[in-house]
């Protein structure tokens, strides 16, 4: 009879837990299982420690609430007189120690596996900078920048927010399934932290350091994360998107990328071979400006105080052209103004500098050609 009740109880508890973990609600209030062996082990450890805490809480708070009810003055007018018991003190020191050992064992074994960064199949160098990620495929010798692609209109509540609001990027990191992928993280400026919850990977990107983490992803799909360390103004707008492809597709993707790089360098030669008109450059320049510069200098070039100077009538955009080109290409040391030469093509740089010298009422009439940029590199 008791075993039947036991079994029923267990069945009930299991079904409640299952219903809970399957409901849509659980998706936004608990850790997700993720797509790696490690992420599932972490979830188990999380549930195990949570369960211990809940049991302890029920016991301690249960005793407390019972006491508050049964030992209130109206019901229990004469207080007892005890105030010491060595035995009880020893018990409630020793029992928690045993529970903690029970927690430390699975935590230690999981941690040892997490910290085993040896024998990777593929290595990605991830460099954080304000406020974007730079991914380099060290084995294939190429890389690219990954910027948030949510438009400013959605952030400023001028347009309805999309499903992937502030979690979407222009160029996602692409990874293969079932390979041990090693992530090396570092930073160009302040400390960032590269975090994808589904891989259970969170590793600080620290200037001057190269940190390691790894993941073996089991299923293809699109996975999202965010920068987890306060890194300045647009910390909230530094998402991570990872597209995981089956192995063969990934190999093909790498070949496609190498081909695209070759094509782009051919295009760059063609771009600097011709002379561009002001209208053409202004057109391209505006897009480049909105995508890269407007977050600090504002779309109308009005800037934000002394930290992010105004470009409208600004000292540099209305000053000598060579200084302007240098500032945009090399940035300004120790400020958020970064070097754009590695991030933008000759045409993009030429057009954005032309744009800054002619937009916002600056109207200098100057034109910067891609060839000039090429020669300044």
């Amino acid at each position: 009879m008791t075993s039947l009740i036991n079994r029923r109880c267990r069945g009930l508890i299991v079904s409640i837990l299952l219903a809970f973990s399957n409901s849509a609600f659980a998706a936004v209030m608990d850790l997700r299982p993720g797509v790696t062996d490690i992420s599932r082990r972490i979830l188990q450890l999380h549930h195990f420690s949570l369960a211990i805490c809940v049991v302890m809480a029920v016991l301690v708070f249960g005793a407390m609430f019972y006491s508050m009810y049964a030992h209130r003055r109206s019901k229990h007018p004469k207080p007892a007189d005890f105030h010491e018991s060595l035995l009880v003190e020893i018990i409630w020191t020793a029992v928690p120690v045993l529970i903690l050992i029970g927690l430390a064992i699975p935590a230690t074994s999981a941690l040892r596996e997490i910290e085993d960064n040896s024998n990777p199949d593929l290595t990605i160098l991830i460099t954080g900078s304000q406020w974007k990620w730079h991914y380099q495929y060290l084995d294939a010798d190429f890389g690219y920048y990954s910027n948030m692609s949510t438009p400013a209109e959605q952030i400023n509540n001028l347009e309805p927010k999309g499903r992937n609001y502030i979690l979407e990027v222009d160029n996602a990191l692409v990874l293969p399934t079932n390979k041990k992928v090693r992530f090396l993280t570092t930073s160009d400026d302040v400390i960032h932290s590269w975090w994808v919850p589904d891989f259970a990977v969170k590793q600080d990107a620290i200037p001057g350091y190269i940190n390691e983490a790894w993941a073996r992803i089991e299923v293809p799909g699109l996975f999202q994360g965010q920068c987890a360390e306060l890194c300045g103004k647009d910390h909230a707008y530094m998402p991570i998107e990872v597209e995981v492809l089956p192995e063969e597709e990934f190999d093909q993707w790498i070949l496609d990328q190498l081909l695209a790089i070759e094509l782009a360098s051919g295009q760059a030669v063609a771009d600097r071979a011709r002379t561009w008109t002001l209208a053409e450059l202004m057109d391209i320049g505006q897009t480049v400006f909105i995508d890269n510069c407007a977050t600090c200098h504002e779309a109308d070039g009005s800037g934000q105080g002394s930290t992010y100077p105004a470009l409208a009538g600004g000292e540099i955009p209305t000053g000598p052209m060579q200084t302007h080109i240098e500032r945009v290409m090399s940035g300004s040391v120790d400020t958020e103004m970064q070097a754009w030469a590695p991030q933008l093509s000759d045409l993009e740089l030429a057009s954005v500098i032309t744009y800054e010298r002619n937009a916002f009422g600056n109207d200098l009439g100057d034109i910067v050609q891609p060839l000039t940029i090429f020669e300044s590199r």
């Binding site: 997700r32 082990r41 965010q226 306060l230 300045g232």
Partner: protein, 535 residues
């Protein structure tokens, strides 16, 4: 310097008299009042900043605060709550209570006491002035990690550094005063193991302060020289190390969080026995547990830095040491429950806040234990789970502790009873609002919301809205607290000297309100009434 409050010049205007009384006072009760007023004022300022934060997070998108301003609010809220509200609040309580509890006429070093208080308005003046500066206030979080705060910090960072230095000087001087007072001015017969627990926890807190505030001073000094004098302590470009900053900061920072909670433990240990009408269970183990927590707090700073790339051995050591803290903390909680067990309890406002403290602090302790497990911490770290954790420890912990102390001793300070009905109302609003604000943050963090972000993706919208509504309630409930305190100061039912029928301790042998100068002749200890329950 010859002019003191005792040598009043006859024909001074009332304003001058008022100013010189409070500026020059060396009386522990008046200085205690000054500390508490400063703490209360900054509580509303830092609380208003929290309201800005929650208002911005009410919905996704940018509505009220631009990102840079939001970061300033996050930073200033943290700095002010830690250094401006909780620490001065506890020092104010120490000033009022420690001399009265140990039968001393005043603090051992009264002029130093005056000095340590009057540094603070200037420190916080400096800090608050940065809000109006070009480039804005500090915007790098209260933990001010390099290089965000050094190379990339706004110009106002230097004012912040000077402000932190001043607060540190004030804290160290105050702590020295407390240590010296406790060691030298105890009434005859009060051995260390007979001291009230509030005095014990403050003694240990004061030692922590003396040991770690200089470390903080070192950290900000290195920042200053990095910013202006060409050093590279924290800059990798010059051969320095950004992670060194975190080690130094958290070597201060982790004992600091115990500085923010240990006096609260002492307060609960004073109040719960009074309203349970039963002696504190396990006095000795309470003392030893507090010492154990303080000692362990020096070897666990690394648990704030698991994602910085620590080696496996260091991670394991820090994890085990951190988990170990659960043992003495558990002992304290069990002792409080055992104190209540088979007592004869009533639930006046101080008791309600003390019970709220024990329960909600314990919830914060549980999440702390979970955070100690390194593998799971990789998922929790820098998310709202951490925000939920430390607000559970600090709001219903430190702040509820201070509030329950204020309700408990206010009749002794003012001679009037506070309005019990309003006090209970304050408690019930606060406890609902605290949980409504901070409990959903656990879910947000687990679901993947990073902390310190001005804007969030859409799946976090519901819980953020709940938290913001709770925060609004919580903010409003403090206006009620202000009203209750002011009303009690202005008048009310006269309090007896013992105030609470079974309160123990020397302070209750004094009349209410406590006269300006007390125990000019040492009292008898233990007092005859102390044996009330054995009669």
């Amino acid at each position: 310097m010859a002019v003191t409050a005792d040598h009043a010049i006859p024909n001074r205007s009332p304003l001058i008299a008022f100013l010189s009384r409070w500026l020059l006072t060396t009386n522990h009760k008046e200085i205690g009042t000054l500390y508490l007023c400063l703490s209360f004022t900054l509580f509303f300022i830092a609380g208003a900043m929290a309201m800005v934060i929650r208002l911005e997070l009410f919905q996704p998108g940018i509505q009220f605060a631009e990102p840079l301003f939001y970061n300033q609010m996050v930073t200033m809220h943290g700095l002010l709550m830690v250094f401006g509200v909780v620490m001065p609040g506890f020092v104010g309580l120490a000033n009022w209570l420690i001399p009265m509890m140990i039968g001393a006429p005043d603090m051992a070093l009264p002029r130093l006491n005056n000095f340590s208080f009057w540094i603070l308005p200037f420190a916080f003046g400096l800090l608050l002035s940065t809000l109006f500066m070009e480039g804005g206030a500090p915007n790098f979080g209260w933990t001010f990690y390099a290089p965000l705060s050094t190379t990339y910090g706004p110009p106002s960072t230097d004012f912040f550094i000077l402000g932190v230095h001043l607060m540190g000087i004030s804290s160290v001087l105050g702590a020295i005063n407390i240590i010296v007072t406790i060691f030298n001015l105890r009434v005859e017969g009060m051995t260390l193991m007979k001291m009230p627990l509030f005095v014990w926890t403050w003694l240990i807190t004061a030692f922590l302060l003396v040991m770690v505030m200089p470390v903080l001073a070192g950290a900000v000094t290195m920042m200053l020289t990095d910013r202006h004098f060409g050093t590279s302590f924290f800059s990798a470009v010059g051969g320095g190390d950004p992670v060194l900053f975190q080690h130094v900061f958290w070597f201060f920072g982790h004992p600091e969080v115990y500085i923010l909670i240990l006096p609260g433990f002492g307060i609960a240990s004073q109040i719960i026995p009074t309203f349970a009408r039963k002696k504190l269970f396990g006095y000795h183990s309470m003392v030893y547990a507090t010492i154990a927590i303080a000692v362990l707090s020096f070897v666990v700073w690394g648990h704030h830095m698991f994602t910085t790339g620590m080696p496996l051995a260091a991670e394991l050591f820090v994890m085990y040491a951190t988990m170990l803290i659960a043992v003495p903390t558990g002992v304290k909680v069990f002792n409080w429950v055992a104190t209540m067990w088979r007592g004869s309890m009533t639930f006046e406002t101080p008791m309600l806040f003390a019970i709220g403290f024990v329960i909600l602090f314990t919830i914060g302790g549980f999440s702390g234990l979970m955070l100690a497990l390194v593998p799971v911490d990789f998922q929790y770290h820098d998310t709202f789970f951490v925000v939920a954790h430390f607000h559970y420890v600090l709001y219903p912990g430190a702040i509820f502790g201070i509030m329950s102390a204020v309700y408990y001793w206010l009749p002794k300070w003012t001679g009037n009873m506070y309005d019990e009905r309003l006090g209970k109302l304050h408690f019930w609003i606060a406890i609902v609002a605290v949980n409504m604000t901070f409990f959903p943050m656990h879910f947000l963090g687990l679901a993947g919301m990073p902390r310190r972000i001005v804007d969030y993706s859409l799946q976090f919208a519901d819980f953020n809205m709940v938290a913001s509504i709770g925060a609004g309630m919580l903010g409003m409930s403090q206006l009620l607290f202000l009203y209750i305190v002011v009303k009690c100061i202005r008048g009310g039912e006269k309090a007896s000297s013992r105030v609470w029928d079974s309160a123990e301790g020397l302070e209750w042998t004094l009349p209410s309100p406590a006269p300006l100068h007390t125990f000019t002749t040492p009292p008898k200890f233990p007092t005859p009434e102390e044996d009330y329950q054995h009669e």
